[in-house]
Each structure stands twice: as C-alpha cells, then as structure tokens.
C-alpha cells in the first residue's frame, strides 16, 4: 500500500458510528482527508454513504466517534460554530435541490448565506453588488451566466446540476461534498458535470468528498477511494492501486 503524502488534513473522522432506531448503519469508521485531495466513497445502497456525509456536516448527529472538520469538533460545536464551519463547505446533492420558483441567480446568491446571513442575500434583487458579481462569476465558471434570470425549474437536469455546483462554489469553500452528483443525469450530461466539477475543484485547490455508484468515476476522479460494506469501512486505498474488479467485489 502506498502511504499518503504528508498534507494538512481538512477533515478527520475517528471511530464514527451511526444507527437509526436501533438498526446500526455503520460503526468504527475512521479516515482523514488531506487538503486538496478528492476522495470517493463507494458502497451498495443502504450502507450509509449519504448518512456519513450528513454526519460530516453536522446535519445529523453521530452516535459515537469524533469528527473534526477544519479545526471544528462537529459533535460538540455550538450551532454558531457549526454554521461557521459549514460556511467553508459546499454541498452538491443528487437531486440538485435548487429552490424551484426562484431565479438561477438568486439560487446562487443563496450559496453566500452562510458567510453573509440576513435579508440581503434572500434574493438577487436585494443582494449587494459584490455578492451579485460573485454569483455571476460562479455561474460563468459553470458556463451558465446567460441563464442567470431563468427560473430554476425551467432548467434541464444538466443545467440545474451546474447551477447547484455554482451555488456550492460561490462561497469559495475549502471542502466540497457531492452526494451522487450525476445520479439524476443521463450518462453524457453526467460525464460533463463530473469533468466540470473536478476541473473547478482542482483549480481552486478544494478538498473533495464524493459519493459515486459509478466505479469508473470513483477511480478516475478520486485520488483515494473509501468503501463501505457490511456496516464497516473495509476499503481505504489510493485510487491508482485499485482495479475496477476489486471495487465491484464491494457490492457483492
């Protein structure tokens, strides 16, 4: 096994366990995320990948174990400190989760709410010039500046996921989290979105954690692959040391 290069660690998880209503989801999960690396999480349905991501952001509490993200202890941090931590993270999810009736630009401006709370970031029409420019710059990066005024529910799937990426990037996060970002897209649009997402993440030197059911994606875009199976995390390896066949074994 190749040892990881010594990089500052943005996220460290030790002995994490989570159960729902007495049914254990996973236990004894430990890993660290070095700055600037992309880590893929793979595993069959129901192994708790999304749950793990939610625990990392403090959106749901873990049962046991420690999570430190950007120096914040997620399980003990008061709400304000958690918000401050999340303001340095971006989330892209499977269903894009844009607010349907609002404009694309308003949706991207919302990405700044963690850093700049309050009514001025409720809508693009109230937003300060600097925030509007930041949002337009983020939209430009995903190639959709021309659709800034369009309502979010009038976008195609691929466009809508790009807007979600712009929203996640607008606050210049240190960590990007993606929960199956291509699950609701056709294969071609999925490739485009993954290429764009990782180009931008690497340009900005962002640490990435992403869930993927696509083994090729996990190996191609991940520097490292974590695998969940049987309520544990039996796989933690550099992507280049893994074969697609070895990863498929995880789904049996």
């Amino acid at each position: 096994m190749i040892t990881a290069p010594v990089l500052p660690v943005d996220m460290r998880v030790t002995g994490l366990a989570k159960s729902f209503a007495g049914t254990p989801i996973f236990a004894d999960v430990s890993f660290g995320l070095p700055r600037g690396e992309a880590t893929a999480i793979v595993g069959a349905n129901g192994t708790g990948k999304s749950t793990l991501l939610r625990c990392l952001m403090g959106l749901i509490p873990a049962d046991a174990g420690e999570i430190t993200v950007l120096g914040t202890d997620v399980s003990t941090a008061p709400p304000a400190a958690l918000r401050q931590m999340r303001a340095q993270m971006g989330l892209v999810s499977q269903k894009h989760n844009l607010v349907p009736r609002l404009s694309v630009l308003s949706n991207v401006v919302h990405g700044l709410l963690g850093q700049r709370p309050g009514i001025r970031h409720w809508s693009q029409s109230l937003a300060p010039a600097a925030s509007r420019e930041a949002a337009m710059a983020a939209l430009d990066k995903v190639g959709l500046a021309r659709l800034a005024q369009r309502r979010a529910d009038r976008l195609s799937g691929g466009q809508s996921q790009r807007v979600a990426i712009a929203r996640a990037l607008v606050g210049q996060p240190k960590i990007l989290i993606a929960d199956e970002p291509t699950a609701s897209l056709d294969p071609a649009a999925g490739e485009d979105v993954m290429d764009l997402f990782f180009d931008l993440a690497r340009q900005e030197g962002v640490t990435v954690v992403f869930i993927s059911h696509n083994i090729e994606h996990a190996l191609r875009y991940g520097d490292r692959v974590l695998g969940l199976a049987g309520g544990r995390m039996p796989l933690d390896a550099r992507a280049e040391s893994l074969s697609a066949a070895a990863l498929r074994g995880l789904y049996d």
Binding site: V99, I119, H121
Partner: protein, 270 residues
C-alpha cells in the same frame, strides 16, 4: 402453465365482531341525532305550502332604484370588510404559521401551544367573534373586519404551517449545508416552495371571508347582513329576497374569480 387458477379474494371481508358493534353504534347515534334535531315528517309535509307562501310574498324582489343603490353600497362595504380582514389575516398568518410548523424554527412545545390557540380560534364561530368585537370596538364594520381577520388567522395559520411542513426538504437541507441560519433557510427555501399552496389557501380564505362578511351585519358588525335582518324583522320579504339574491350572486362571482386567479397564478406550475 400452472394447473391451478389463481383465486380472487372474496368480494367482501367479513367484519370483525368489534367492527360490527362499531357500525351498529354509528347507526344508533345517527338515528338518535335525527330525534335530537326534532326531525318531523309532519313539518316536512306542512313546510312546502308555507315556503310557497314566503316565496309568493317575497317575489318579485324589490328592485326599486333607491333600494338597489342602498343595498349596493352595503354590499360594497361587505366586500371591503372581507378584503381588508382577509388581507390582514393572511399577513399575520405567515409569522404565526412559522411558529406553528413543526421542525421549522421553534421547538415542539411552542408548535403545540400555537396550534392549540389556532384550534381555539377556529372552534369559535365567526359570528361569535363578531359579537366579541362589537363589544370591544363598538358597532360597525371595524368589528366585522377584526372578526374576519381573526377567523382568517385561525384558518391560514394552520394551513400555512401544514403547507410548510409538507414541502420537499432537499432545498432547505442544501441551504443549511452552506451554513445558513434557520430564518434564512425558511425565507429562501421553505417559503418560496410553499408559495403556491399559500396563494391557494389565501384565495380560499378570501372566499370564506366574503361568505362570512355577508352575515356579520346580523350582530351589528357592518355589511349587508343588517339589511337581511331588517327585511325579515319588518316582514319586508321582497327586500330580504333582493339581499339574498345579491349575496348569492356576489359569493358565486367571488368563487369564480378566485378560481380563475388560482389557475392564472399557480395553475401552470408542474
């Protein structure tokens, strides 16, 4: 192929003994209610001639220009009471609903207390609220407007809260994940997502307000209801009939208008 044919289930399930007792009890309660309501075949048979007598005396309705003008102004006042009360009620309902919606801003205790208060508001009939406000602020349309407003809060506060509880949680979660505060999440994700439901509920509230406002005059809370009462009290049935027809026309018109506005504003959604 298999040699057995699949058997369809029995057409009817045999009710359990307990269910049978339940049905029997329901029938008894319904019959008992007829007795309690003074159901009388004699009166049913004697009513049509008396009703015909009323209709005979009420028709033709009073269509004298000065009566129509007076009633027209009263009808306008009625609509003003309804609109003003409904608008105030809808506006106040938004913050109230934020407190009543479970898992949104405040804890379950506050939700329960607010929902109980809203339940109480709804349990008291609009006409009773009008009586209370006539005592509080005196006779006239202002008492009626307050009654409509509080009635609307009872209705919209509860349904706005239900609407917000029922929306898809994804967008809110994505905003929480950026570190947004609860209030910001509600303003940016929850309320925009619930807006079509809010508009629909508000239009129903307006229809309800127009119906209510037409009878508030019976207790002196303004509007056309007083004309109805005076008409019956003075045995001026033609004028009373004019009032009834006027109310019917206006209420039906408002229902159509509100239905049209509903499809216009939110109909093309999804």
């Amino acid at each position: 192929m298999t040699d057995t044919t699949a058997h369809a289930p029995a057409r009817y399930d045999r009710p359990s003994a307990l269910a049978f007792l339940g049905y029997a009890a329901a029938v008894v309660i319904i019959l008992w209610s007829f007795a309690g309501a003074g159901f009388s075949v004699d009166k049913m048979l004697s009513a049509p001639p008396r009703f015909a007598d009323f209709v005979d005396r009420a028709f033709p309705p009073n269509l004298e220009p000065q009566v129509l003008e007076r009633l027209g102004w009263k009808m306008l006042e009625t609509l003003q009471i309804a609109l003003a009360g409904a608008v105030i009620g809808v506006i106040v309902s938004v913050p109230v609903a934020l407190l009543a919606a479970r898992g949104l801003i405040v804890g379950p205790w506050v939700n329960q207390i607010v929902r109980t208060i809203l339940g109480f508001i709804r349990a008291v009939p609009d006409i009773a609220w009008a009586l209370v406000f006539v005592v509080a602020v005196g006779l006239g349309p202002f008492a009626g407007m307050l009654a409509i407003a509080i009635d609307t809060i009872g209705f919209c506060g509860r349904f706005f809260a239900d609407d917000m509880e029922g929306i898809e949680k994804g967008p809110s979660e994505s905003l929480s994940a950026t570190g947004a505060r609860k209030l910001d999440v509600v303003a940016c994700a929850t309320i925009p997502a619930a807006m079509p439901a809010f508009i629909s509920t508000s239009l129903y509230a307006l229809e309800k307000a127009v119906r209510s406002s037409t009878i508030l005059g019976l207790v002196g809370a303004g509007g056309i209801g007083i004309e109805l009462k005076v008409g019956f009290d003075l045995f001026d049935y033609p004028t009373a009939m004019t009032v009834i027809l006027m109310i019917a026309v206006v209420v039906i018109a408002i229902e159509h208008l509100s239905g049209w506005a509903r499809t216009k504003i939110i109909g093309e959604q999804r």
